[in-house]
Amino acid sequence: MRAEVPGTDRAETPGTGGPLLSMRGVRKRFGGVHALRGVDFDLRRGEVHVLLGENGAGKSTLMGVLSGAIVPDDGEISIEGVPVRFGSPRDAHEAGVIMIPQELDLVPGLDIAANLFLGKERRRGGLALDNRRMRAEARTLLERAGVSLDASLPVGSLRMGERQLVAIAKALAADARILIMDEPTAALSAAEADHLAGVTRELAARGVGIVYISHRLEEVPRVGDRVTVMRDGQRVGEASPRAPQSELVDLLVGRPFSELFPPRAASVGAPVLELAGASYAPDRPRPGWQHTRDATLSVHEGEIVGLTGLMGAGRTEMMSALFGFGTTGRWRGTVRVGGVDAGLGSVGAARRAGIAFVTDDRRGTGLVLQHAVSENVTMSTWRRVTPFGFVSRRLQGRAVSRAIADYDVRPRRPEALAINLSGGNQQKVVFAKELLTRPRLLLLDEPTRGVDVGAKAEIYRQVRSLSATGLGVLVASSELPELIGLCDRIVVMRDGRTVCEFGAEADEAAIRAASEAADDTAAAAGPHAA
């Protein structure tokens, strides 16, 4: 079970002396679920220890234990050799263990200085706050966090990358000895992520021990000194950050990665979606929304086409625009669905054209969580189960029980509430709902986000068998290996444009280079099938 990866190179780790942190045999059960099955973890002073794992692998639970938010059932924690027991995040804070959660613990309405000193305000004698002193100290802290910002700016006016750095400064203000960063780059642009990596290294150089939770394999070699991989509540291995990514992936998923994917289709049919020089003009532009400009791509019957690009490249936006979701608008250029000009730009038009959309946020936009599975499954096809406007329990029941069987939704009860289903089963309900509309084109945005490996394999199989019936599938994902394994072709986007296209079995590094290229000339060198 345990696979110690060779190549772990301790000589390179800059840690000094004994371990700063040592966790031994940590166990935690939630009801019948073993979230942690006796995990060991340690951290040296001045090192960045990357913690990798799929969703549900137990890394959040482990860090919850370390930061005092979760009380373990069993196990020992010691810091600098002294056993500790945290009953609350406050306890951990006081011991110098600070967690920077993904949802940053900052108050948007207060300025930076006020945030940094929240709970330990500097005061002048009596009641009055010493704003001048706090701002001066804030400047020093911000400098240490590698950013120079006016400390009187409200946090709400900062970009995400800047907020991340403010959160680090806040941890420094609390005299952090151990800093836990939970997927800090999830919402950052590539440049911001680069900058953050530099700051992280610098902090470590000053003696702070850093646990860096991530699922972005590509950033591991840039920040990490050591990598620990978790799966199914266990520590399954330790690796060097310079180990090949395929090795890490195999560790993460527990079996050779390629086995997850079904074989590709033998042949494809007529085109279902054709875009040529297509741009989208929304009726109400949204700030920070990367609108599609000059996009060219095609999806054929029985074909799965992947859409990749960095965060903010406009993948989600293109899908939303095709579906008219978020904001109505007008397409310019060629947009054909099933060979005819579709006049897309609203949800109604997309539905009439035979497009179905599985969004990247099933809890927010895919499902009504408080409603039963049956209501959710028939939500997009109400007309079909309500003849003359009256709800037909019989028709609804028939449609729902067939959908539950087809998509293997567990539990098999139509009356179960969506909120009580696991992530994978929720995703199956969303699939069932969308496919009941009998689409010819299926848009999938991050279809495997937040589901475990088993459910991922199930979803891949499902998507492939759907496409085998003649459905065209366009799938956007930030996980490149997933696209490479699943798709027949992959289209790369940047700044709202489609920049190039790769065939099956494409090279991950080449796609990445095309995604990150600063301009089109650099990209032109990358692709081998444009």
Binding site: D105, P108, G109, L118, R123, L127, A128, G146, S157, G288
Partner: protein, 345 residues
């Protein structure tokens, strides 16, 4: 300083969009527009603008002193992401209790006023405690509190209004209490002076004390506040105690201003107070707001009503105009919130 900082020079550029500046002074902007309109449309008499007559200005600020006081407390509650619908009713309870104690029970000022303030503060604190302890939405708790305070007021007053007569001996209130209805130098209303003093205290409490920070933090990101060691529950209870305190003071001012206490006093004032707070740029979702804005919002509502009335605009149109102003203020806030991009709630 660090090498890392140099690699991201764009992070160093402080940004202040003109729109954000607009929202910052949104309430003052509205006030300025209304005052400008007042100057343009003011009727003249003997070659002078009626709107700017010292008497007229005094009338405006007198008319908003009570809702203004309520709005000061309400600002704390709303910034802490709460709401208090009971303020008008607590004003009535305080007003009638003051009248009853002074007139019917022969109490002196030094015993009556502190007791009324204590009752109001306690009433608010209890509402806050119920809402926090039992996790009931503040809207519901204070809606119930509104009913309860009206009921208590009817009990205290024995279903009747109480006229306050001044003098010595039974059935009369101490003459000193009448000062609340007077005008300094014949012009400046004492009730407004009370409002201004409280406003200065409220601005200071919100902006320069640790307590104010905690209120912002509690409303802006409760989890962050809790993690930072802020006693979130206590802060939540305290803001309702503050509205109760403000309501009690407003009730005393009401009783003194009109020499009268009725259990029906202050009916609907809670909505005017909320309107002043919202026009002042405070976010109904909590976490952001301005006390100066609230004061400006209250003055603006008073000035608007005044200028409409001076021009013989019909009462129906006055209500429509007030409604339109509230919606415009809210729309501006949303618009700027989207533009500045910081509107994470």
């Amino acid at each position: 300083m660090s090498l890392a900082a140099a690699s991201a020079p764009e992070a160093a550029r402080p940004r202040r969009s003109p729109v954000a500046l607009l929202v910052r002074f949104q309430s003052l902007l509205g006030l300025l527009i209304v005052i400008a309109a007042g100057l343009v449309f003011s009727p003249h008499r003997h070659g002078r603008l009626l709107f700017l007559q010292p008497d007229n200005v005094a009338n405006i600020i007198r008319s908003i002193s009570e809702t203004g006081i309520l709005a000061l407390g309400m600002t704390f509650v709303i910034i802490a992401a709460g709401i208090d619908l009971s303020v008008g009713a607590v004003l009535g309870l305080s007003s009638v209790t003051t009248a009853d104690l002074l007139v019917n029970d022969g109490w002196g000022l030094w015993s009556t006023l502190p007791l009324v303030v204590l009752i109001g503060t306690a009433f608010g604190a209890v509402q806050g405690a119920i809402s926090t302890r039992f996790r009931i939405q503040a809207f519901i708790v204070t809606l119930a509190g509104l009913q309860a305070a009206r009921g208590l007021a009817l009990i205290v007053s024995d279903n009747s209004f109480i006229n306050i007569n001044y003098g010595h001996g039974p059935g009369s209130a101490p003459p000193a209490f009448a000062v609340l209805g007077e005008r300094i130098g014949g012009v400046f209303p004492v009730a407004t002076l009370v409002f201004i003093l409280l406003a200065v205290a409220a601005v200071a409490l919100l902006n320069v004390t640790r307590y104010g920070r905690y209120v912002f933090a509690t409303g802006g990101n409760e989890r962050a506040a809790r993690l930072s060691g802020i006693p979130v529950s206590r802060i939540k209870v305290s803001v309702y105690a503050l509205t109760g305190f403000a309501s009690a003071i407003a009730g005393i001012v009401h009783a003194g201003q009109f020499s009268f206490g009725s259990p029906n006093d202050g009916t609907g004032y809670e909505l005017n107070a909320i309107a002043a707070v919202v026009i002042g740029g405070t976010d109904l979702f909590g976490g952001a707001g301005s006390m100066v804005g609230t004061v400006a919002g209250a003055v603006m509502l008073g000035a608007l009503a005044n200028i409409l009335q001076l021009n013989d605009v019909s009462p129906a149109m006055q209500l429509l105009a007030t409604g339109a102003i509230i919606v415009a203020a809210a729309a501006l806030q949303t618009y700027v919130g989207q533009r500045s991009g910081g509107g994470s709630r």
